[in-house]
Symmetry: C2
Subunit: 155 residues, 2 copies
DNA sequence: TTGATGTTTCATGATGTCAAGCAACTCGGT
DNA sequence: ACCGAGTTGCTTGACATCATGAAACATCAA
């Protein structure tokens, strides 16, 4: 993986720098949007994760890439505010499913609607440019079909 | 600002989603790289900020977008490990400049070198594609020179 | 002097890790 | 079918970091 030599060319470094800026700005705006709804960033992420369906605690921890014991606390705080509730899993009594309440879903929806980032900025790009951006990002993330013609089946 | 109507078109939403993925992955890899050097994310960011020149505490807070009282603690921890030191500002005795020590600079350099993200992923893009990506990101960030000659040449 | 600015300290709360504990599930041997 | 060992899911506790806001203090600037 990281055995590849470091590309020191200025163009790559510039792109890396720009991505850093995008990340910083995204985070800033995300936290601000969350704060507007009296949520922390972690709470907002968790709430968003539950928007569509309930999840077991351990699954939340896996997706948020943190320890399950951490999730306990975040869910505790959201539950004490009535945004989330714990339900038993009928299939396994060890498991507790965290699920948004009606109020929690409303909050999550409002939060999503107020997430301006990459919406206002993207407004300055044409449709074609956005499509190009999408394809490049996909390939960066390895989501973009690894070009079956060229192979690279390995790794 | 946010008075613009929300563009609900699928393409924009997809790009927003992708940017979210990039942000998540960047953060994960950044924190992992920091952890490899026994640093937290905040400590790594602060150390990186000081790599080139010392900065007053209040300036660090401004760039990190947090309270000055918070910076005190982070610098305290880095200072207790010998990675950073406080110096007086000759021009203003109220001010304390935080500066990396030699060891701090080495750590910052090693950290930077181990930041694989957007380097390995970018390796799959051609030079031309990277240039396109750079330009699109620049425009997203508003860094793309708002055309000073004509002033708002607009769309 | 008066007011503004830069830093620190304190109190408080959220986030994060790890180790230990409890409850419930699984599975193998009898 | 049973029972016991090991595993898994969640919580609790202790602890460190990060973050904010109010208050204290020194210094600057008018």
């Amino acid at each position: 993986m990281s055995s590849r030599p470091a590309p020191a060319d200025p163009l790559t470094l510039e792109v890396v720098e720009l991505i850093g800026s995008v990340v910083a700005r995204y985070h800033q705006e995300y936290d601000e949007a969350a704060a507007r709804h009296a949520l922390t960033g972690s709470q907002a992420r968790l709430l968003t994760l539950l928007r569509h369906r309930p999840l077991p605690m351990r699954e939340i921890a896996r997706r948020l890439k943190c320890e399950p014991s951490n999730v306990t606390g975040i869910v505790d705080r959201l539950e004490s505010r009535g945004l989330v509730e714990r339900r038993p899993d009928p299939a396994d009594r060890r498991v507790k499913l965290a699920a948004v309440t009606d109020e929690g879903r409303e909050t999550a929806d409002r939060l999503r609607a107020s997430l301006d980032f990459a919406r206002e900025p993207l407004a300055d790009l044409t449709s074609a440019e956005r499509a190009v951006l999408r394809d490049l990002l996909k390939r960066m993330l390895g989501t973009g079909r690894p070009e079956p013609s060229r192979g690279r089946a390995g790794d």
